[in-house]
Symmetry: C3
């Protein structure tokens, strides 16, 4: 079976950011997403009060360039102001054309 | 500590497929699973109406051969008809014998 | 963008262990965590009755040494007695200093 190597970008953020982050990843090129509700705690941005609480865990599978764009947007517009973390993993998918 | 390298297969699908997919991964050789409720959106199979909605996120840790069998089954029997994505990652586990 | 390579440790366990496991990962050096509710099934430790049921899926991003300490603790104090699995993945993060 032919597997295509792509990037899985996982963003964990305050639940209040859900709508904005979905728009953001779409704008940067993600064709789909998976979203789960989560709880969490971590070191903080400015809005410290919201972080130890309701979070979302947002996953997108994208090409390397889109992954880079998403991370850059997070770094510039979210990390300084909100409780957000993001990490990237290598994944292999069937039907890679669906994601790029 | 001795870590064993295995495959983490993550399947995101319409919630209605939960029971069938659990039977499927067991039949292909998975010894256990983790299941979380999710929401999502993505490019579609035939049943377009169901996809922007309630999903499951199903994880199994398996050997390479079982991972391949699971992906093949999904490709033949699910991808053409349902809103399903699947991706594979390398993971390291303690007590690898539990998974194969 | 500068990405730092760290370890994502995922622990899936009986929900009853949530508080203890959070204390444990903090004690071993994790600076934050993400927690989602899950269901699951798998081969068992001693407390077989609890496993096919409510689980937590706990994620921490840590350096290699902390990952090793967490796995060792799980192996010594949890795996023999509870329904717990753990796996490790390589991840890349922005702002790596937040995690170590």
């Amino acid at each position: 079976m032919e597997l295509v190597r792509l990037k899985l970008v996982t963003i964990v953020a305050e639940a209040i950011l859900e709508k904005r982050l979905l728009e953001e990843v779409r704008r940067q090129g993600a064709k789909g997403y998976t979203l789960t509700d989560a709880r969490g705690e971590g070191s903080r941005g400015l809005r410290t009060m919201d972080w130890e609480g309701k979070n979302i865990r947002l996953e997108v599978i994208v090409g390397e360039e889109v992954a880079e764009r998403i991370l850059r947007t997070l770094q510039e517009n979210y990390f300084p102001y909100y409780a957000v973390i993001a990490f990237v993993e290598n994944v292999e998918v069937v039907r890679g054309y669906k994601y790029v």
